[in-house]
Symmetry: C2
Subunit: 337 residues, 2 copies
DNA sequence: GCGATCGTTTGAAACGATTCAAAAACTGCG
DNA sequence: CGCAGTTTTTGAATCGTTTCAAACGATCGC
């Protein structure tokens, strides 16, 4: 691979001039400038990003730490971030934390040594990351949290309006006539799960509905969790006639458990999910769900980060994206008994 | 962030010695060694990957170019690759090509400037990449292709046994009694789509079944493609009683079209997909499909690449992973008419 | 024609590591 | 104790860029 020295020799200029042409860092006379550009073209030269990054103490890479790319919600987030990053000249280094705090910390400490321009983070759990990310702040490297926030997070963030989404879903179920409402939440140390539970509870307060504590079940954000908690819920007396699931994966588990219990959805039990994943369209019945755009979450966060990288200052921003309720076939009025 | 110079000063040794301790590149006496390690611990030192990469002319990053992370098949591949890469000390730089040859080339040329240790590539289409990847070869950087191969690819590769998977699926349909068999293939410039079509055709040759050319429809690997081609197929006379879909996304489109035509699956039309994505379990009816492990595809490729990085020579390897047929509810014997 | 001024161009230093030849410090042996 | 041989340790050179102060060259006014 050719380097700047060869370009300089071919264009009969000094190293500095080549660099200036490439970076527009000083005015260079037209003929000289063209000689350099020609040489670049002839040799197919591309600046070595490592050397550049080393000197500038910053590369054009953005670190992105997510829990698990095989979780169907995250690819869209990553893609949104990648698109914005790419079109601004940045590349993504992707790391999976598997929701392990330790793995997350390891990635956090590791990535620094690549001198990334910024960091996008979907935090794994309730751990406080202030200390670790402080090192980034010190180095002037922006960090934006997505989807959920670490304990006492004071930096930039982009999240969905989880509380409001859950409220809308629950209110809809109430409007259908349900009064025996249950919910299966995600892990409550995650802010998004907690906020969704708050929205659920707020909706109940309107018509002054009271529910027994067993109607609120905490689960992991996946199918097996949803399944086992639904089994528990369906044994309760009176049996809940509607379930608000903390996300669509939980809802899939619900669906399975409902079917196995010999019950029908939505006739016996109505069900609303959260995320509105593509797979909700093809389930049986098609899943009603709170829509949030993972893509937009990612792209908004990347835009915010790029702004920071470009030097935009100001106080920490907390962007909250709206949600909407998508009604399909898993919801209906309760049976008259 | 601390650097090697500070370590050297604190440990009262030279730069070279610190480096030797960190890399085990020369024997260092125990007490000296310990002084260095202590200093590293005290200052929380981590080697700057850019400086190291610049000097070594190779970093511990692996470039990975895939068509689109939001395509449900690819996350598992990426995850498999990431796990193996990570546990060998490598990090993944992820790029989406969107199946655009030009974007793929741009990534290919760009990534080189980061001096990656290797490259994992799910090629986008029929373009010949020999020239571009030759540059990597020259630099001693391994390139492994996954899932499908560029035209006249002679390097390492890991693919599923697409031909055999398609053969098994089709033979199963034939065993059920179907004779009016149709297929909706992926884009036939992709080797995996082509191979699946070959398997389909081979299965027909056994019982000497002949089908009209209209029973073979080429589509894109997604739901809308599957939908529109199914609409076409269902108008044919005689109507096919079984469809082998080139992948599960196509199969989802089929399902939709079958339902909209007022027909039932599997009673009127049997359907088999390919990939066995998770979402196939929750469709109505649950989708029979050819199972291939995306995770294994990715991890095998990464292992192969790591071997190459570690200097394992030898001729190009073509690993072909087996498939199995998962039978669910979208397949049944044809109606007796 | 000379000095001041302005805009271009240069070249050396720096970024933080690795590596290689050479120096230094040991070791064993006579 | 000195010497050869071996093991440790050193320090300078290097990777490919950016950047800054300084040198250079052209232009202008007087």
């Amino acid at each position: 691979m050719s380097n700047i020295k060869e370009i300089a020799k071919l264009a009969r200029v000094s190293l500095g001039t080549v660099s200036h042409v490439l970076n527009n860092s000083a005015s260079v006379r037209e003929p000289v400038r063209n000689r350099v550009l020609d040489a670049v073209r002839v040799l197919g030269y591309r600046p070595n990003q490592l050397a550049r990054g080393l000197r500038r103490v910053q590369t054009s890479m953005i670190g992105m730490i997510i829990p698990d790319i095989t979780n169907p919600f995250f690819p869209a987030v990553v893609r949104g971030a990648e698109d914005v990053a790419f079109s601004n000249g940045f590349r993504l280094i992707l790391c999976n934390s598997d929701n392990h705090h330790s793995k997350e910390l390891a990635h956090l400490n590791e990535l620094r040594t690549y001198l990334p321009a910024g960091l996008l983070l979907i935090p794994s759990n309730f751990g406080d990351l202030t200390a670790e990310t402080e090192v980034y702040r010190q180095a002037g490297t922006g960090v934006v949290c997505i989807d959920r926030l670490p304990t006492s997070w004071s930096g930039d963030s982009v999240t969905a309006d989880n509380e409001d989404g859950a409220y809308k879903a629950t209110r809809y179920l109430i409007q259908l006539g349900h009064t025996a409402l249950a919910t299966i939440t995600g892990p409550l140390h995650l802010t998004n799960a907690k906020d969704r539970l708050s929205g659920f509870k707020r909706a109940l307060r309107g018509p002054r509905l009271k529910i027994a504590p067993e109607y609120i079940q905490e689960s992991t954000f996946n199918k097996p969790g949803g399944y086992s908690k639904t089994v528990t819920l369906l044994k309760l007396i009176p049996r809940p006639t509607a379930i608000f699931a903390g996300n669509d994966m939980i809802a899939l588990g619900c669906l399975l458990a409902i079917r196995e219990a010999g019950l029908r959805c939505p006739e016996d039990v109505s069900l609303v999910g959260f995320d509105d994943l593509d797979l909700g369209e093809t389930t049986n019945p098609a899943l009603s769900s709170v829509s949030q755009s993972g893509y937009q979450l990612g792209s908004t966060a990347a835009n915010l980060l790029v702004d920071r990288i470009k030097g935009k200052g100001g106080p920490a921003k907390h962007v909250v994206l709206g949600t909407s309720l998508t009604i399909r076939n898993s919801t209906a009025p309760p049976r008259k008994s």
